[in-house]
Amino acid sequence: MKTGLSRQISKLAIAVAAAGLLGGCATSGNPKDPIEGFNRAMFGFNEGLDKVIIKPVATGYEAVLPSPLQTGVSNFFSNIADLMIGVNNLIQGKPAQAASDAGRVLVNTTMGFLGIIDVASTMGMEKHEEDFGQTFGRWGMGDGAYVVLPFFGPRTARDTIGLVFDVATDPVSHIDHIPSRNTLLAVRVISDRAQFLKADKVIEEAALDKYSYVRDAYLQRRQSLIHDGNPPKFDPYSGSQDGKVSEAPQEGTSAAQVATRN
């Protein structure tokens, strides 16, 4: 979903993010969220879009398509994503993971019929989750303000920059045949969304205020991802965790992010 839309949209996203960051209207609450008013409006916009178009289509997709086929579709896109996940692991200084990612692409593209079957996972080559936002976080870039982008959903300032790189290097958006490209982008959005239908319902039930629930989940999730699942524990009573090392971004399709974006 995130990588999906075209370059123009990413330009729009940057413009919006820049406008938001510069012209922030302060509201309550989280110090990470200085432009809460703007963000809430964008969140509402995305929710509306999801409710009217994306969620109904994803619900239909899930209802109609047999589960093994859904897995095949999702594996196909996952295999494409593994390419840049490997690159990100490499430039984060994790050559072993990068090698494993490359191995995954090799195995899955050949033995797994263009990625439709995730043979590599059954061989014990674990799937990773990396993106440029995480990479910049690893490199020491602070995460900056929280921002809700139209279409893409929650990000931080750093993750927004990461997103631009993610989109620019997304193999699918480089397909020359425009109808094929657009079809693939759309199917990917729906396939990703379908995986979060259940999570979405749980969030609706759990949250007192969905906006802040999603925001805080996104920030925690990014923090966890950037540390590959082992973020430093923070003192429960000390209040805010200051994200020096940062909370970072995700890549294409983390659960929290898609759920957030819903």
């Binding site: 594996n75 259940k198 759990a206 999730r221 991802l225």
Partner: protein, 207 residues
């Protein structure tokens, strides 16, 4: 007859001996047993299969609740303001938050009943009192498993879960900023009321 009495006595003394009490269930075993037991019931129970939240909540109340430390969880979710709450307020808050978590958890169990659970390798130093047990949920159709981690602390009554972390997100501390907003607007009592209202509306919409 005497022999039987002797046997009984020795069994009783064995059960009561401190050595046996000390052999409490290890945290990873505890998580595994409870998860397996609950999933097993959920997959078989007709009412739950039909989507009955009520039955699922009964199940969670029975099997899962005894292993959770809800006052610690509530304190974690509230953060700093917890210490300013009176004992009565803390009690009311814990009750209301417990109900919300149980409801959410029960519904998540129903939604995810067909997923399989993997237990990550668990290591623990002797004498540790705060550990994390890591599991993974495999969803059919999803490209990646979801991590589900339990934080447990050792108490006089055995290991108790005080946090549940899904995909890196703590279901407990994730409430902190919305709780803080509620407390700023209406005090601790305001938060209790909001939680109770939320629970009521969920109850009304549940089967």
């Amino acid at each position: 007859m005497k022999l039987f009495a002797l046997m009984l006595a020795s069994v009783a003394s064995f059960l009561l001996s401190p050595g046996v009490q000390a052999q409490e269930t290890a945290p990873d075993v505890l998580v595994k047993n409870v998860t397996n037991e609950v999933l097993d019931i959920i997959r078989k129970d007709k009412d739950i299969k039909a989507g009955s939240t009520k039955r699922a909540i009964e199940l969670v109340d029975h099997k899962v609740l005894p292993h959770f430390n809800f006052s610690r969880m509530t304190a974690l979710a509230v953060g700093r303001d917890w210490r300013q709450a009176t004992p009565e307020q803390q009690k009311a808050l814990t009750e209301a938050f417990k109900e919300l978590l149980v409801r959410t958890y029960s519904n998540a169990l129903i939604a995810y009943k067909n997923e399989t659970v993997d237990y990550r390798p668990f290591k623990m130093q002797a004498g540790e009192t705060d550990v994390t047990v890591r599991t993974q949920i495999h969803q059919p159709g999803a490209k990646q498993p979801i991590t589900l981690d339990y934080s447990l602390e050792k108490t006089a009554k055995g290991w108790k879960v005080y946090d549940v972390v899904v995909a890196g997100v703590s279901l407990v501390t994730n409430y902190r900023s919305s709780f803080a907003t509620e407390i700023r607007n209406g005090g601790i009592d305001g938060l209790v009321k909001t939680l109770q209202a939320k629970n009521k509306s969920l109850e009304a919409s549940a089967k």
